[in-house]
Symmetry: C2
Subunit: 313 residues, 2 copies
């Protein structure tokens, strides 16, 4: 099953303690699509300016990403400039130029309204809702958002969330959206806004998924070389949704595996600037890191007998 993603395609300029990259390929929809493309077909809806080079289009096309929904508008492509200190969990934005993204109105090409799996990357919640109005009876709608919309467009965001099955946000956004510092309580409050499932991204600490009465916690993969965390969250979402769409299985067990695939994909992205690591990534590396994730987290459950004798009293 293919996935529809609506979000940004951008040029990023990034400085980290380990180096810098200027005007490299970025954007939420770009990271999402590329990660998801390892698992399934992706229909991308976004806008770029007239300065967007053919080589980037060729890269996306080579990953079998359907570009019928990639509009080219007069003007320049969205640009983001940011810096990370040693605490790679926090991005410091130096400059944002929305350019053609400022007037972006997502239009779905014909056929896209039948999409079963939809990901609304972090854009204006009113646009997110506009997209959903164009889609008929999707199986799974997931979305992302950020502090900017929680502060500035809370009512619109809540309207959108009422139509969303799965929300993927970070822990600060979770606490802010729920106005509740405790994560478990915050998750309950947010799930009452609409999404049956809440996936909380915690950067180097991994991910927690809240769904019905169940909680699933997965660590991030411990890496020696985290070069650039830009795009980690959207790559996670792409791997997660890509696996779900490929398997068409929304059971708890499969959602948990999808979380791990998402984490695996994100762990590769941060190893290099931009999407560079994903350009060379192959299936065997993904499978191998999934297995190392299993080793990273596995412990034996209690057998019925064992615990009794270890308790002193």
């Amino acid at each position: 099953m293919s996935i529809l993603v609506v979000g940004s395609v951008a040029f990023d300029s990034v400085e980290t303690p380990f180096g810098k990259a200027d005007e490299v390929l970025g954007g939420s929809a770009t990271y999402f699509s590329t990660a998801a493309s390892f698992f399934t077909d992706v229909d991308l809806v976004a806008v770029v300016g007239e300065d967007f080079p053919a080589e980037h289009v060729a890269f996306l096309r080579a990953r079998n990403i359907n570009l019928a929904g990639l509009q080219t508008a007069p003007g320049a492509t969205f640009r983001w400039k940011g810096r990370y200190e040693y605490d790679l969990n926090e991005a410091h934005t130096l400059d944002t130029r929305l350019n053609v993204f400022e007037t972006f109105r997502p239009r779905l090409p014909q056929g896209y309204e039948q999409s079963s799996f939809v990901f609304l990357a972090n854009i204006d919640p009113e646009l997110q809702l506009e997209v959903l109005r164009q889609v008929h009876g999707p199986k799974l709608v997931a979305c992302d958002t950020m502090n900017f919309w929680i502060e500035g467009k809370l009512e619109a965001l809540k309207k959108t969330l009422a139509h969303v099955d799965l929300l993927i946000i970070n822990d600060a956004e979770t606490r802010q959206l729920a106005a509740e510092p405790n994560l478990v309580k915050a998750a309950r409050i947010i799930r009452e806004m609409g999404p049956r499932t809440l996936v909380v991204k915690r950067g180097e600490y991994g991910v927690v998924m809240f769904r019905d009465e169940s909680i699933f916690a997965a660590p991030a993969y411990p890496l020696e070389a985290v070069f650039d965390p830009t795009g980690a969250g959207d790559t996670f979402a792409g791997g997660f949704m890509g696996y779900l769409a490929a398997t068409e299985d929304l059971s708890e067990a499969n959602l948990r595996q999808a979380i791990v695939f998402g984490s695996v994909m994100a762990s590769f992205t941060v190893e290099q600037f931009s999407l560079n690591r994903l350009r060379t990534l192959d299936l065997e590396e993904i499978r191998s890191r999934f297995r190392r994730f299993k080793q990273l987290t596995h412990f034996e459950d209690l057998s019925e007998e064992s615990p009794a004798h270890v308790f002193a009293r």
Copy 2:
């Protein structure tokens, strides 16, 4: 097998967003001993002042903690006063009065020099080494430390670490001790100082254990009511070491189970002020939460066939 612990017994005064507690029982050795006492016998070495009430002694004794090494010195018991904001990961110290702890010199009662399992709570590394000099051929020596000693007594600390098998510290201390921001690299640097195993405590994000070529990550148990994080780290260490001493099994698989038992014990401690939650805790609650930890982290590994068909290319 019993455990020897050397550390502090104290009165804590704590404020959190959820309430406050004045002059309640605290101290690293107290939390450690109480948690470990659910699994095995504990020999406690510490000092209190003449103001230490009989009811606290009775509590420790009722938990079968051997108090032959609990000295009473002229003066007042160690007092700590602190506050937590909504970010419960960070304690703000308001006042520290070492009192009798300032001149504490650990003396092991006869028989303790044969201890097989030793935990050196966070005290002056010179005193930690003095304790180790009194113990003959222990099976496992674990220790804790803090930024104060890393900054002020680094050389003494390194001398101690050369005799330590297992270091249990938090992530900021890990980065500081190694002078390296990347956790994986920092762990390697610290393990070259002596400890074969490094256990990094990350508060609400859980624990990571580095040992030989293996890494194990366990989340913290997600709680709706975190009342007071004081003592969580020492409770973790007590549950961890208590389980190891009870099973006398230092295999990787058993260390991983021990990490989970430590996390389970810590998750109870933070539910109430002081050691109050441990006072009413029973074995069945511990076993039940261990099993919920398993549910919290479990996902299916890849079968040999399954992944192939989910990859688009």
